[in-house]
């Protein structure tokens, strides 16, 4: 049986390339974006990040003992991700968005769809679906986060990590996370769970692509 990580990479590669080759994403990675659009993107990301740990917690509380290794993995991961919404807030402040405005921002339809799906999947589909969310978000951060933050820095003339700390640090941090995520994914052998994770990955890539497209 093929290790699940390899299987997941193959079954979702087109969705990954769908994100990568979306014209808005291509342009953003190549040339950065205007400060208005970057603000709009970070405001949406804030709500994705803010709901990341609650989704993980909802999933962890529903994961059966047969997959307890995933529950423990989620506990550790939640601790690492805790407070990262503050980084997004700081970046937004650096580009002129007050903290109150960030919290008060109403997320766009695609962001609501993304978060809504992830809660629903953890609750009703399969709690291990959460790994699909993590895979999609970590691929986006670790593979595209570096070039994207460089492009933003160049286009907005930002200095150092100011304004890009969230994306830039996740590009490095999620590189380490990818290796541990592969290890945990390879422990999953049952087909229904694998299928649920694949589905979640596809949905997450789809919605994140739409979020980029809409800003």
């Amino acid at each position: 049986m093929m290790p699940f990580f390899a299987d997941l990479v193959m079954r979702t590669d087109e969705a990954r390339r769908g994100f990568e080759t979306n014209s808005v994403v291509l342009d953003a990675v190549a040339r950065g974006m205007s400060v208005e659009r970057y603000r709009a993107l970070l405001l949406e990301l804030y709500h994705v990040v803010w709901h990341f740990n609650p989704v993980c917690a909802a999933a962890a509380s529903r994961i059966p003992d047969s997959h307890r290794q995933i529950r423990y993995y989620l506990y550790e991961h939640m601790q690492e991700e805790s407070g990262h919404e503050e980084w997004v807030m700081s970046d937004l402040e650096a580009i002129g968005v007050a903290r109150d405005s960030t919290v008060a921002h109403s997320p766009a339809m695609h962001t609501l769809s993304l978060n809504g799906y992830n809660y629903w999947a953890a609750d009703r589909r399969d709690p291990c679906s959460v790994l699909g969310m993590m895979y999609a978000l970590e691929v986006i951060a670790s593979v595209y986060g570096g070039p994207f933050s460089s492009a933003i820095r160049e286009s907005l003339l930002l200095e150092g990590e100011r304004g890009v700390s969230f994306i830039s640090s996740h590009a490095t941090m999620d590189a380490e996370h990818m290796a541990s995520l592969r290890t945990i994914l390879n422990t999953i052998v049952d087909e229904p769970t694998r299928d649920a994770i694949v589905e979640s990955t596809l949905v997450n890539f789809h919605h994140v692509t739409r979020i980029f497209e809409a800003i």
Binding site: F5, V9, R17, T21, S142, V143, G146, P147, A151, A175
Partner: protein, 335 residues
């Protein structure tokens, strides 16, 4: 294995499949299958692109005698193929996923292996390169029986610039066509070469002016078709005289995958720099990955100039034959 279909059924099957990244055309008179690749917007060997290409090759193999000529070209202006899917590499390296890196490499050499045996399958293969072809893109060109480049096309193996090497047949295929010294120079320098430079090195059979590639294919195929059986037998014998084994290709892929896992953050950043340059060209910029490679070469050369360490010594003083002439070696005064 399925029993062979009738020629009409076989052709219907081959042409009837729905492909996302390939466009197929059939010329009945010559039994010629044209395959045009179109992995938009970034023309590279993505997993899906490889799967589709292998599907076409398998269909040809399952219908022996149907296709006499297989011709590959690119539908993307200015780019034949950028080679491996760099974003996928970055993902797999960061996930430390040796299995998937090997799997990707094996899919590539399966295609090389099929082309290596094309003459035995009764198929003559031709490739037309009308734009940049890098790394795996160039590797995929070398197993074709006839390689045609339009004059402005450039090619090379840039992998060494980010501490990797081309692992899907570059060494044995280049050595067989051009000799050990040329293979050494091309793989270890990471430099780019013009169509004429590759022609002089026997890696390209024919260089034609830009825009004349299509006519050249037609003329070439029509000249070979009347003497096809003899030509294929001779090409089969050529392979027997200088064989390449699947095991050796596989061993190199395994080494390539292991080496990929040793890439550092700096190496991956360079890879990302190239990927970003590819993206810029797709977005309409004049400059893309080829220009970025030249910049990386120049950076390296300036470093050498400052330190006095050229790695090569004086035996490589002939600038004309080194690289594209606008790259590091051509740019350095007094070399």
């Amino acid at each position: 294995m399925r029993p062979p279909a009738s020629p009409a059924d076989g052709l219907h099957l081959i042409l009837g499949r729905k492909y996302k990244y390939l466009r197929l055309e059939w010329t009945d008179e010559l039994a010629m299958l044209r395959v045009r690749t179109c992995v938009k917007p970034i023309q590279c060997y993505s997993l899906a692109g490889l799967t589709e290409m292998q599907r076409v090759l398998d269909d040809i193999a399952e219908n022996p005698g149907l296709v006499r000529h297989l011709v590959l070209s690119s539908d993307v202006t200015g780019v034949f193929n950028f080679g491996g899917d760099l974003a996928l590499f970055v993902l797999l390296v960061r996930a430390r996923d040796l299995d998937s890196l090997r799997m990707y490499g094996r899919r590539c050499i399966d295609m090389v292996w099929w082309l290596e045996h094309a003459a035995q399958r009764g198929v003559h293969t031709t490739v037309l390169v009308q734009g940049d072809t890098l790394g795996g893109g160039l590797e995929s060109v070398l197993p074709f029986h006839k390689v045609i480049f339009e004059r402005s096309a450039q090619a090379g193996f840039p992998e060494v610039l980010f501490n990797l090497f081309p692992g899907m047949g570059a060494w044995p295929l280049t050595i067989r066509k051009a000799g050990f010294s040329v293979a050494n120079d091309m793989v270890l320098s990471g430099r780019l070469f013009t169509a004429d430079q590759l022609h002089r090195r026997s890696l390209v059979d024919l260089v034609v002016e830009d825009g004349e590639g299509e006519l050249a294919i037609d003329a070439l195929v029509r000249s070979i078709d009347p003497r096809l059986r003899g030509t294929l037998a001779a090409l089969h014998a050529r392979r027997m005289a200088a064989p390449i084994t699947y095991e050796s290709l596989q061993a190199v892929v395994d080494l390539w995958a292991e080496t990929a896992l040793t890439l550092t953050t700096r190496d991956l950043r360079l890879m990302e720099r190239l990927a970003r340059a590819q993206v810029r060209k797709v977005g309409g910029d004049e400059e893309g990955a080829v220009e970025e490679i030249k910049r990386i070469e120049l950076d390296t050369a300036w470093g050498e100039l400052r330190t006095g360490n050229t790695q090569w010594g004086d035996e490589h003083a002939h600038t004309e034959e080194r690289g594209t002439g606008v790259t590091a070696w051509g740019a350095l005064p007094g070399r």
